[in-house]
Symmetry: C2
Subunit: 109 residues, 2 copies
């Protein structure tokens, strides 16, 4: 029942999702469907600039969609997960499970 280490399992982790800031964004989106920039900014504690660039990367990778509109007179940026984004997150989760299996548990080491 011991799990051999498959290097590919660890090295194949999707870097776009693996980055903590982006993983956080995706995770929030997965449960909230649609969120606003400012909400995410406060929730995450990320700087606006950092948040903005991670968003752009996720959008470029097709994992999220960004919609801009006005609420009253103020600009408003909303994000939501695309189908590809949901799949990427699910795949990543599966990869993580695989990684967890090879991580030695302290009490059986």
């Amino acid at each position: 029942m011991s799990h051999d280490i498959q290097p590919s399992d660890v090295l194949a982790l999707d870097r776009l999702v693996h980055e903590p800031a982006r993983l956080l964004i995706l995770t929030v989106l997965a449960s909230a469907k649609q969120v606003e920039f400012t909400y995410l900014e406060k929730l995450s504690g990320l700087s606006k600039g950092n948040l903005s660039s991670h968003m752009s990367k996720l959008e470029a990778g097709g994992l999220i969609a960004i919609k801009k509109r006005f609420r009253g007179k103020r600009p408003l940026t909303e994000l939501n997960l695309t189908a590809a984004g949901r799949k990427a997150l699910n795949d990543y989760r599966q990869q993580l499970i695989g990684v967890m299996q090879v991580l030695p548990k302290p009490d059986q080491d």
Copy 2:
């Protein structure tokens, strides 16, 4: 029973361990106690240069110890986990478990 997202849980992931190449190295070390450079090179598929620099970073962070000696006339580099390294890996594993909890499971989404 729902788990709220704690941004800090995700953003606090130890980057030294989080990097896939290094996570692989640490994981191998955790189960093998002591391994040689060339063994790790073949197992991982990492280039020598890449492997070498990740090793240096792990050593600089105190997570592994690097011992150099000669086997016959050939140089030989051996790595093993330090106590701090084992702790860091265990802590990371705990962090990952926390992250897994907030990752939505596809079938209950």
